[in-house]
Amino acid sequence: MTLAIAAGSAILAALDLPVGTSLHALFIAPVSDSYGLSELALKSTPLLLCAIGLSVCYRAGIWNIGAEGQFVMGALAGGAIALVAPPLGVMTLPAMVTTGVIAGMGWAAIAAWLRTRYGASEILTTIMLNYIAVSLLTWAVHGPLRDPGGYSFPESALFESHALLPALTESSRLTVSTPFALLAVGALWWFLARTLPGYQIAVLGADSKAASFAGFSTTRLTWLVLLGSGAFAGFAGLSEVAGPVGQLTPHIAFGYGYTAIIVAFIGRLHPLGMLLASLLLALTYLGGENLQINTGISKSVTLVFQGLLLFFLLGCDVLIRYRVAGSNQPVAA
């Protein structure tokens, strides 16, 4: 963290920007009032939801990179219910949530099936499915789901109020998905420490030979973690469009699915760790926007800071676990 800020400052300095003001705009200003804090919670919610699902995959040694796609599919399918399904009245929202979760699971299921049936690397399939999901969303908002009264902008109509998640307070944009994410943190802790599947996932991730000796089914566990991850990402996507965004646009995902990977690793795959990490990464989003408004620096600087964080985390891990050895041992000749 310190290293990341130091390197970030160096970059800012190299760009001839006032380092102190910029850092203030990045990390302090966004959370200096209660509205800012609520925005922080709002941003961190989808990150945390996605990271929870991803962390379970990573604990099992399944490298799911597909939260982005699962997020988009949840948003798209759930949003489609709000836009085109026959009126369902009070059942609209439950139908949207269910559809969003199932769509996220379905998207992850493709990778699970390819992995368990054909041994296809889930890293590649989930990344490719991300692109397909985003393309589907783009097609939908340019075509069938475009707002007829929207002056040809690639956006859907705004959702009806009964298709929006209930707000938590009058003054903020927070919805019930934030307390749900906190609940999920507790549930994840319980799942990992106290349940059989949680234990089996840890065994599979630690040593597949031991898992096979114990008779745990790799196939079943692969399905379980990918479907679980898809469900969380799908719900996160749905709660974005049925929450702060309120419509489908081509840019709803905003890289949350990828940033959640960083959240999962900075949080050490630990429930509480990921809660803190999601706040930190959310701060980089808010700070980036703030910085752009205040100093005119592109908010791409957000991505730079996120990348620096992950880089230094992984780099320190390597240096802690391994000793740097010279290659000056005599080569036997």
């Binding site: 420490a193 106290r194 349940t195 059989l196 599947p197 234990y199 840890a202 065994v203 630690a206 040593d207 030979k209 031991a210 096979s212 000796f213 114990a214 008779g215 745990f216 089914s217 036997a332 000749a333």
Partner: protein
């Protein structure tokens, strides 16, 4: 055996002569004053069990390791190969037991990598391929030089290994258990090729633990046991029983007092069982029929790599059954995986303590859980962590497991203590059937003694125990009936008191009862 170690070709300078080669590892004398002479064009067999020092000796000759004492004479000149590169330059070549080919590369790429940097082999690819092909043809060993190694059968890979060695025109070819991965037909053809090579003047050192093969191929044979040469002689003259005695020793270990069987019911019953994947690393596993009764220890001897892992996995359920039937305590378990079998009363002390039997990074409680999910997961979901902690404490206390503290990870335990813990795990719930794989391998004497005592206790409490081990002393100490595994086939079981060590030695190496039956 009194046969003087003179070349059959008369008095000539030996190609290779070893005088008093000694190599010490911490706690083990791997080679203890080994003498050996090999004449030009001779095929010499080197027999020995695992751990007898064969591989160490070869590594000393080939420059992988340096002997602590002794001399190596090469064509009469004293040498000390400091590396395989030096050994190769002198004219030695070695094919290791485990293939050293790079799988995603083509045959020719592998050949070129092997010869890279050696004088005289810096030739264009087309020329290299030409000489490779003409050598392959002259020996009648067809290989497609452009094929990728992953696509080749074990037999074909063997050919590539041998051919690339022969391109160097070596004076000595060392082969470490080269037939392990070959089918019987391939073995016969391979031997023909080796004789052709030897007729050309190249000496061959053939390491094996298969008596019939050594007798069929070699001129002379040298036997190693516990790091020492126990004898040598002319292979075709020595009988299999003579060789077996040199291999495993003369005296049958002292037998424990006769024990009366405790129960009578058959608790482990394998009936013509075969696995879904029956051919492993060139080993063709035969259908297994085996019964172990309550209160009985059945011992399976055998040199590792003859099907032990496969037998264990068939019983544990890690390998799915294809045909046949397996029951545990009278319940048909043929179609079930390991977890269900553990729940039915089967427990296993696996061959690999870490990376199979235990996960070093996890706590003892989590490792206890590994084979006891049925005991702690009520309704298959939540875990009873309190009960787990109590049981871990009980195992630590009653099995005298030395651990820093109760919450230590399994990796913090020494090998012997981890093994005691694993045995404690297996015995915690009074299993009906216990499979022990090499239970005292790499374990100090005190721990080994404690482990033996516990296994005998489990027997007297009525467990049916299958003991799979290479340790013959252990086998004679514990087992009520003994059989051997050789090339994927189990010999008949015989009461321990009616089975002299020599005969068991024969079974383990493919002689006696096992001769001619081992391969279908």
């Amino acid at each position: 055996m009194g046969v003087p170690d003179e070349s059959p070709h008369g008095v000539r300078i030996p190609r290779l002569e070893l005088i008093g080669i000694t190599r010490r590892y911490p706690g083990v004398l791997a080679n203890d004053g080994v003498d050996l002479r090999i004449a030009p064009g001779e095929i010499r067999g080197l027999l020995g069990e695992n751990g007898s020092g064969k591989s160490t000796l070869m590594r000393c000759i080939y420059g992988v390791e340096q002997p602590d004492a002794g001399e190596i004479l090469w064509n009469g000149r004293q040498i000390r190969p400091m590396s395989p590169r030096v050994a190769r330059a002198l004219g030695m070549a070695m094919v290791f037991q485990h293939f050293s080919l790079i799988e995603p590369l083509s045959v020719m790429d592998n050949v070129r990598l092997y010869l890279d940097g050696i004088d005289g082999f810096d030739r264009p690819p087309a020329v290299m391929r030409e000489s490779f092909l003409s050598l392959a043809e002259s020996l009648d060993l067809p290989v497609d030089p452009l094929a990728r190694v992953d696509d080749l059968s074990p037999g074909e890979r063997q050919r590539v290994e041998v051919l690339r060695c022969l391109l160097l025109k070596p004076d000595l070819l060392i082969l470490d258990e080269p037939t392990a991965a070959l089918t019987p037909g391939e073995v016969a053809q391979f031997f023909k090729v080796l004789r052709t090579i030897a007729d050309g003047g190249c000496s061959i050192l053939f390491i094996s633990h298969k008596l019939p093969e050594v007798r069929a191929l070699c001129d002379q044979v040298t036997v190693l046991r516990r790091g020492k040469v126990t004898g040598h002689g002319i292979a075709s003259v020595m009988s299999e029983s003579e060789l077996a005695v040199l291999l495993v020793g003369e005296e049958t270990p002292v037998l424990p007092p006769a024990r009366t069987p405790v129960g009578s019911g058959v608790l482990l019953d394998l009936d013509q069982l075969t696995g879904a994947t029956n051919a492993l690393d060139g080993l063709q596993m035969q259908p297994v029929s085996l019964q172990v009764r309550s209160g009985e220890i059945v011992g399976i001897a055998g040199i590792s790599g003859n099907g032990q892992e496969h037998l264990n996995n068939l019983i544990s359920g890690e390998s799915a059954a294809r045909t046949g039937r397996l029951s545990v305590a009278g319940r048909d378990m043929t179609r079930y995986g390991p977890a269900r079998r553990y729940a039915a009363g089967l427990q296993i002390v696996p061959a690999e303590r870490t990376h199979q039997g235990a996960i070093p990074a996890m706590s003892l409680a989590d490792n206890l859980l590994l084979t006891n999910v049925h005991r702690y997961a009520s309704r298959g979901l939540t875990l009873d962590r309190e009960q787990l902690a109590r049981d871990v404490r009980e195992i630590i206390d009653s099995f005298d497991v030395r651990t820093p503290h109760q919450h230590a990870s399994a990796g913090a335990l020494s090998g012997g203590n981890l093994q005691k813990f694993l045995l404690g795990r297996a015995l915690l719930d009074q299993p009906r059937v216990l499979i022990c794989n090499h239970p005292t391998w790499g374990v100090d004497l005190r721990a080994a003694h404690a482990i033996h005592r516990r296994i005998l206790e489990a027997r007297s409490q009525g467990a049916a125990i299958l003991l799979i081990t290479e340790d013959l002393d252990e086998l004679y100490l514990l087992a009520d009936r003994i059989g051997a595994l050789y090339s994927g086939r189990i010999s008949p079981l015989r009461p321990t008191r009616e089975l002299p060590l020599q005969e068991l030695g024969l079974w383990m190496t493919g002689g006696g009862e096992m001769a001619g039956k081992a391969v279908a």
